[in-house]
């Protein structure tokens, strides 16, 4: 316990026990997402309770849903959609945003100006609204969801990476690399990226939280993951009828979302300054 309290050493960095606990929760949900079918006590569609909106019992720790299915199993399976779709979207968004941001900072000129203006404009569409419009136009499938979520969060990631890269770009070693005649891909890949990696990863974490919240919101409105599949937001939607009875099926998926997002936010807050700060 003493070693836990004083902090965990990790790859040369130390994180405190709040951070360690958060990391544990995040790793836990990630493994649930991977191993859901093997650890869930019941199948995702199995009706196991003769009553609907059942209370918490020993057999069903989180009660049953509106059809009498085991809520715990539903949530464990839902983790696959919530974590999987969000992860795919955030990797796509930050990959694109960071690459474009570094390229804009290094190239400058009209490329930078035009791209910045366009992405700023994209950023001034409220995120839920953008999701609504796209879903209205092309319908809601998993690839469309991932792509939409990614497009929504490219501008923020771009802006963040560009601000970091502009600072690095003013350094002498970049001028030297330029004088050597290095091309754009080498400049951004080998000279800039390694110097902004820490803050970029912290930003990816924050953006992952935004994506999870937006995806849950869309699913809650019935515009995200479609039945028979269900992510955590969709689980709240389909069980909202249990609210007047105070059924655990309504709150449990929300609590699952909150545990994941709060853990990520707190972990980033408790990261060593060395990793997190943009001017480190």
């Amino acid at each position: 316990m003493a070693s836990l309290a004083s902090g965990l050493a990790m790859g040369g960095y130390r994180i405190n026990w709040v951070g360690a606990l958060c990391l544990l929760i995040i790793v836990g949900w990630a493994s649930v997402a991977v191993f859901a079918p093997w650890i869930a006590p019941h199948g995702v569609g199995d009706v196991v309770d003769s009553d609907y909106f059942g209370p918490m019992t020993r057999e069903m720790p989180l009660g049953s849903d509106y059809l009498g299915r085991d809520m715990l199993s539903r949530i464990l399976h839902g983790a696959r959609y919530t974590v999987g779709v969000s992860l795919a979207a955030v990797v796509l968004a930050c990959g694109t945003g960071v690459t474009l941001g570094m390229a804009a900072a290094v190239s400058g000129g009209w490329f930078d100006a035009a791209l910045s203006r366009f992405l700023d404009a994209l950023n001034s569409i409220p995120s839920k609204l953008f999701g609504l419009v796209v879903v209205a136009a092309v319908g809601s499938t998993i690839p469309v969801l991932i792509l939409t979520l990614a497009v929504i969060y490219v501008p923020g990631s771009y802006r963040f990476a560009r601000a970091l890269a502009v600072n690095v770009n003013a350094m002498d070693f970049i001028s030297v690399a330029r004088l050597r005649g290095e091309r754009l891909p080498y400049l951004i890949g080998a000279e800039i990226l390694p110097n902004i990696l820490g803050p970029v990863f912290a930003d990816v974490g924050l953006r992952f939280v935004f994506v999870v919240l937006l995806l849950s919101g869309l699913s809650f409105l019935g515009l995200g993951v479609q039945p028979p599949n269900a992510d955590w937001g969709a689980l709240v939607r389909e069980n909202i009828g249990g609210l007047p009875f105070g059924a655990p099926a309504v709150m449990a998926p929300s609590v699952a979302i909150a545990s994941l997002t709060i853990a990520i936010n707190l972990l980033i807050d408790n990261l060593p300054r060395k990793i997190r700060d943009r001017d480190a």
Binding site: V133, V138, G217, G233, T261, D269
Partner: protein, 316 residues
């Protein structure tokens, strides 16, 4: 000096206008990805190819996309919002009353949330590092990290199900008297206020903390001014710009929150209208609602920018 401020403001407004054009293009493009669909959707499955072709011509669907975009934008600008696909009503008529409802909800929320959030943010900065500050910080992180519908369902669970103080649904039509109105508005307003206050508290606290870390604030403390006086007389006037900026930015979160809150409480506002329109794929109605939301959002963030610009000489 005055000239340069005027030209900066003009530049900022021009940027906002340009942004609006780009945004409207994105909204139009997103809803026009499937151009053939509209006529077929309208006529149903039994439509003959000739009928579909006729309707397409009548609706000018075969024109180049850029021409249709220009015509649509020009119509919007001149007040012609078009006709709903679903029930053939003019969109202006559908939106009118509901827009007023949404604005009422947003207004009441702002009136209630802004003073509370500012007080909490400023006092948290004043007593930085105390248990009070820590509780406020952890609570705001908590609220920011959970989805809006969780705040709403928790409120319903607590006040309508367990305590039975308030009705779970809000129906603004048959409201009689002030007491009734308060009961109906309480839960949506409370949920929205929670969602926007969290951001506002964080940003206000950060602004005041920054102003308190300056040499002149330290000087005021050293010459013996009380903490209240240092905060109110020395730090706050300099943090005012960032704080007003924070308020305008936080109010833009109302837009996202309002979509969830109107849906969950069945509140007859524009956001509910739009979510319903998405379910029926009523594209003209969706486009118009989307433009209203984008316009309000753009006005709010432009205002925030302009206030930041005016209040901070270093940005000029």
């Amino acid at each position: 000096m005055q000239r340069s401020i005027a030209s900066l403001l003009t530049a900022r407004l021009l940027v906002a206008l340009l942004t609006l054009v780009i945004v409207s293009f994105v909204v139009f493009a997103a809803t026009s990805i499937l151009p053939g669909d509209v006529a077929e959707v309208l006529l149903g499955q039994a439509a003959t190819p000739e009928a579909v072709k006729g309707l397409r011509t009548a609706m000018h669907l075969d024109d180049p996309a850029l021409v249709r975009f220009g015509r649509w934008l020009f119509g919007l600008a001149s007040g012609d919002l078009g006709v709903s696909y679903a029930n053939r009503m003019p969109i202006a008529q559908l939106i009118g009353g509901r827009l007023l409802n949404s604005l009422k909800l947003a207004g009441v929320t702002a009136l209630f949330a802004v003073p509370v959030a500012l007080t909490l943010g400023i006092t948290a900065a004043m007593w930085r590092g105390t248990w009070y500050d820590r509780v406020v910080s952890v609570l705001t992180i908590g609220v920011i990290s959970v989805p809006e519908f969780m705040v709403a369902t928790s409120a319903v669970l607590l006040f309508a199900v367990h305590l039975k103080w308030l009705p779970a649904l809000s129906i603004a039509r048959d409201v009689q008297g002030l007491g009734e109105m308060l009961r109906v508005y309480a839960m949506p307003v409370m949920t929205l206020a929670f969602v926007i206050s969290a951001q506002m508290i964080r940003m206000t606290r950060a602004a005041v903390v920054e102003a308190l870390d300056t040499p002149y604030a330290e000087m005021a403390t050293l010459k013996g001014a009380s903490r209240t006086r240092v905060v109110l007389r020395h730090a706050l006037p300099n943090a005012l710009g960032p704080i007003v900026n924070a308020v305008a930015l936080s109010l833009s979160y109302l837009l996202g929150g309002v979509i969830i809150v109107e849906t969950i409480f069945n509140y007859p506002g524009v956001a509910k209208l739009m979510v319903d329109a998405v379910a029926t794929r009523d594209l003209p109605l969706i486009q118009t609602c989307a433009m209203i939301f984008c316009l309000v959002y753009l006005i709010l963030i432009t205002t925030a920018d302009i206030i930041a610009l005016l209040s901070n000489p270093r940005l000029r």
